[in-house]
């Protein structure tokens, strides 16, 4: 039986791109900021693997869902900011629908007969 953290990690797999788009839907952000934002919004329950964040960001960029631009930082080296594109907005909407369908389906499966 997987641990609680392990189960959460497995559930998170495949949702990284969606979570990233969710954050970017509220405004542009850079990589580290996105990780912190996801952790903050989930009260620390979701901690996106930093190792999977950048491949996801670059895939989204290659697919045209986000665009990136460099910007100088006041506190150090330049940062790469990501901004969601209209294509990314569409992808996010689609992802939300799929996620909702998954949640509904899982809910149906896990509902006990007595609950029905």
């Amino acid at each position: 039986m997987p641990s609680r953290d392990s189960l959460r990690t497995q559930l998170l797999k495949g949702t990284t791109a969606m979570l990233v788009l969710e954050v970017l839907a509220d405004g542009e952000a850079y990589g580290y900021e996105i990780v912190q934002e996801i952790a903050g919004r989930s009260d620390g329950s979701f901690v996106v693997s930093e190792g999977s964040l950048y491949p996801a960001l670059h895939k989204l960029e290659a697919d045209g869902a986000v665009v990136a631009s460099w910007r100088e930082s006041d506190r150090g080296p330049r940062r790469r900011y990501y901004r969601i594109t209209p294509k990314g907005q569409g992808l996010l909407a689609e992802s939300r629908e799929q996620w909702a369908a998954v949640v509904a389906t899982v809910g149906q499966v896990s509902r006990r007969p007595a609950d029905a």
Binding site: Y30, G31, Y32, S49, E50, G51, S52, Y54, P55, A56, H58, K59, E61, A62, D63, W70, S73, G76, P77, R78, R79, R80
Partner: protein, 419 residues
């Protein structure tokens, strides 16, 4: 989880796995640097020591090779698109220039700096100039062994970053061809002087080029840590210095002379065909040899000495106390220098005569150290002007002994002069 190592090593491991075009690769590394800065700063604020913070930040990003590979995969669709519009070709050219120019630039600079260093040592120690040339060539070849690998690998990797594999193969071919050209230069430059060392260096350079190109095509991978690179660089430096000293040592110490004095060695005649360099007949008491000290293939044949035009009036061979031994070609355009009366060179004119159509002479060699690097320059005075005799004529084969040839009149041939 194992210790992720230092930040620099971690980033180097990411870069090794990325294999993207240089610009994209720089962007990815900069982005990760920025991420690490933020992460480390936050961890330090939470009470971690700087070293612990760095280690934890690297741990959170995970295995560098995996991260590099995953980012590369994420770029695949973009690469295909760029390749379709010719971006790969542009990227390949750009990468080749980025990879080759610095490598060859560094090589050329390093070689010249080494040769200048050798010149300084030579001037301080008063060593023989011909040894300087050899030492410089050896230093260049030794440096070339290391740089050849880097140049081949950089060029091939630059092209391998693009989507089209055949380009990488082409780059490998070009790199190896370039390496062979370079090694051929050193082969011909060095083999005159030190055949054994030259062959060893040549073999190392060729192997180095091939390994560099092959490594870049992923058939083998040789990754060196920073510490290993420093050790290798140190060894190369020591090897270069030892090679240089090894070349100069006999001259500096006077010991282990590979060419001991041979009072019986006399020059019977010499000629300077443009395509062969100076040749001549020597009677060493041990058989015939040419001025380049390569015995003729057929000991019964001998090439005649040069002749000068009958149109010349009052030719007179110069009788020098010591012939100038030049390190460069005596042909037009090259500075062969003037005879140096103070130079106690190894070649001394015993007697020279000029007939109506031919010249001949005998030169006694008292000390032939480095004679394999010397050019024998024949000069004469024609109407009061000093000229260097050389011939553009086709070599003529003379059947007989050198001495018989010296006594045989020859048909005058066209000669060129340097005033």
């Amino acid at each position: 989880m194992p210790d992720p190592g230092s930040r620099a090593d971690w980033l180097a491991a990411v870069a090794a796995a990325l294999r993207l075009d240089p610009e994209t690769e720089d962007d990815v590394l900069d982005e990760l640097q920025s991420h690490l800065d933020d992460s480390i700063e936050a961890l330090e604020r939470s009470g971690r020591t700087p070293r612990d913070a760095e280690r934890e930040a690297l741990r959170r990003l995970g295995d560098p090779a995996t991260l590099g590979r995953n980012i590369r995969k994420a770029q695949q669709s973009r690469k295909r698109l760029l390749a379709a519009v010719g971006g790969s070709v542009l990227g390949a050219a750009d990468g080749a220039v980025r990879g080759l120019v610095p490598a060859f630039g560094a090589y050329i600079v390093a070689t010249f700096v080494s040769m200048i260093g050798v010149a300084v040592v030579s001037s301080v120690t008063g060593t023989y100039p011909s040894d300087l040339e050899t030492a410089g060539l050896i230093v260049g070849a030794v440096l070339g062994v290391a740089l050849a690998y880097g140049a081949a690998r950089a060029a091939t990797r630059a092209l391998a970053r693009t989507a089209r594999r055949p380009l990488a193969q082409t780059a490998a071919t070009v790199a190896v061809a370039g390496g062979l050209t370079l090694t051929l230069f050193f082969f011909f430059a060095l083999r005159i002087h030190v055949t054994a060392i030259a062959l060893a260096l040549e073999a190392a350079m060729v192997a180095s080029w091939i390994m560099g190109a092959v490594a870049a095509t992923d058939r083998i991978t040789i990754e060196l840590t920073r510490r290993t690179q420093m050790v290798v660089a140190g060894l190369i430096g020591v090897l270069s210095f030892v090679a240089m000293l090894g070349t100069l040592a006999p001259t500096m110490s006077g010991a282990d002379d590979p060419f001991p004095p041979d009072p019986d060695l006399s020059l019977l005649g010499a000629r300077f065909p443009s395509d062969q360099g100076p040749t001549g007949g020597f009677d060493s008491g041990r058989g015939l040899a040419t001025a380049t000290f390569q015995p003729p293939e057929d000991p019964d044949t001998f090439e005649p000495v040069d002749a000068f035009p009958s149109s010349w009036s009052a030719p007179q061979l110069e009788l020098w106390p010591a012939l100038h031994v030049a390190t460069t070609s005596p042909f037009p355009g090259d500075d062969i220098g003037a005879p140096d009366p103070a130079f106690g060179g190894p070649i001394r004119v015993v007697a020279m005569e000029a007939g109506a159509d031919i010249w001949s002479g005998a030169i006694r060699i008292d000390d032939i150290r480095g004679i394999d690097q010397a050019w024998v320059v024949a000069t004469m005075l024609v109407d009061g002007e000093r000229v260097v005799v050389r011939s553009w004529s086709t070599p003529v084969t003379f059947e007989g002994t050198p001495w018989e040839w010296l006594q045989t009149p020859a048909t005058p041939t066209v000669v060129d002069t340097v005033r």
